[in-house]
């Protein structure tokens, strides 16, 4: 049974041992790696769990409190983000192999902080192949392509991208590299070899911290400092002080200075 008619669309390519789908308006042969909405040779950032977290504050308290935010039960240190709290200087959230925690100050309330955990073992070594590093065309919305609804959505004609889990008129987040890297002399420097300055995340790995004798990881969208990126390497230095210890890095296939 034919499930995908490749003759109709050059957006879809059935490889010898895989499948790739380009963004709308781009033939597969012209699509760069970052202009694909699916390529079975590499990982995409998949959401494993989400929750809203609030803390009323404890004006009578005099100490930090460690609160459990959610159990993700992934069995590894996951990539995760938080959005909502306008906290620019302190890393409040951390994760171990089972749960997400909040280290809250007694008098400071937190209102509707959004926690998103990804099914990505960010400290494990991974590197995707690089095939086409620069696109010769920009993507443009097209009525041809592929789309798959989210589990909670039922209308395949929906114009709300939030209803889809795959859509060739979208930009998903595909991954080039992740793994653990160590600081040297206050800097974090590592090769990415993607062929252009890429978008990135980093997360601090904490050993024997407030959760007890265990290793945890911070959110990957905490602010750590400034980076210098070129075609082969990223170097990150701290904003206020040198970086110390180990970090998990997550490099996206998306260029940091091209939007397509």
């Amino acid at each position: 049974m034919t499930i995908i008619e490749t003759k109709l669309y050059e957006l879809v390519n059935l490889m010898t041992d895989g499948l790739e789908i380009a963004q709308g308006g781009i033939d597969m042969g012209d699509a760069s790696d970052y202009q694909k909405v699916l390529d079975t040779r590499w990982e995409f950032l998949e959401i494993a769990a989400e929750t809203m977290f609030s803390f009323e504050g404890d004006p009578g308290g005099t100490h930090l409190q460690l609160l459990k935010v959610l159990d993700h039960n992934l069995g590894y240190l996951p990539a995760f983000t938080h959005d909502g709290v306008f906290n620019t200087f302190n890393s409040i959230f951390s994760a171990d192999e089972k749960s997400i925690y909040a280290n809250v100050f007694f008098s400071v309330p937190i209102v509707n902080e959004f926690i998103r955990v990804f099914a990505c073992d960010i400290t494990a070594e991974y590197q995707a192949p690089s095939t086409i590093v620069s696109g010769s065309r920009l993507s443009s919305p097209s009525s041809y392509g592929a789309k798959v609804l989210n589990a909670h959505s039922h209308d395949i004609t929906s114009n709300n991208m939030g209803d889809y889990t795959l859509n060739s008129n979208s930009k998903p987040i595909s991954l080039q590299l992740h793994g653990k890297r160590s600081t040297v002399s206050g800097h974090l420097a590592f090769d990415h070899n993607v062929g252009y300055p890429p978008s990135f995340f980093i997360a601090h790995i904490n050993v024997n911290n407030f959760t007890g004798p265990s290793t945890t990881i911070s959110a990957m969208n905490d602010t750590f400092g400034f980076s210098i990126a070129d075609d082969t390497q990223i170097t990150i230095r701290g904003a206020q002080a040198g970086l110390v210890g180990d970090y998990a890095v997550l490099i996206l296939k998306d260029p940091i200075e091209v939007a397509s």
Binding site: D17, G18, L19, Q23, G24, T40, R41, W42, E43, F44, L45, E46, I47, A48, E50, T51, M52, T81, D83, T88, F89, N112, F114, R116, S140, P141, V148, N150, A151, H152, N159, N160, M161, G162, T165, L166, N167, N169, S170, K171, P172, I173, P197, S199, F200, F201, N221, T223, G225, F226, S227, I228, A229, A239, Q240, I256, E257, V258, A259, S260
Partner: protein
Amino acid sequence: MSNYGIRTTQNDQDVSSNNFSYDTTKKHLLVDLTQPQKQLAVLDNFVPGTALQLTGIVDDYKEEILLTIPHNNGFRPTPLSYYFIKSISGDPTQGGGYSQNIYFFSGSAGTFQDIITLRTWPDRSEFVHLVQDFSSGTIWSSPAPSFLMRIKYFIFSNPIDRVL
């Protein structure tokens, strides 16, 4: 959880391994490329604000909206932004370097902050420049107008104000 969709694995891995490279039964971060206003773009030669001032008033706060990007999601979407310094006071040798989600012109915990960031609302996203005192009574004038930036932003059609 739906039992319908597409699951793929990487080369040489069987689907029974449950080690999927893409699983459409799970949600993914997606930027909507069909919206009238670009939700994925690069802003070049961007001046990140005026000389906002803190005048020594404890807990003082001032902000200015630098750019508004409408969207039709109906919820607060997920922002991601990168700030590259092209030059400071016209001198490119003082530039260089990317910052993710927030760029600090200056500040420290317990004193004040002077930053640019991208925040989202149910109908729009905004690049905002703000100065904020943290109970220290700081006197400060922002150097933002001397900066020239290149900014890349993603606005994902994934909410941060509700769990779907």
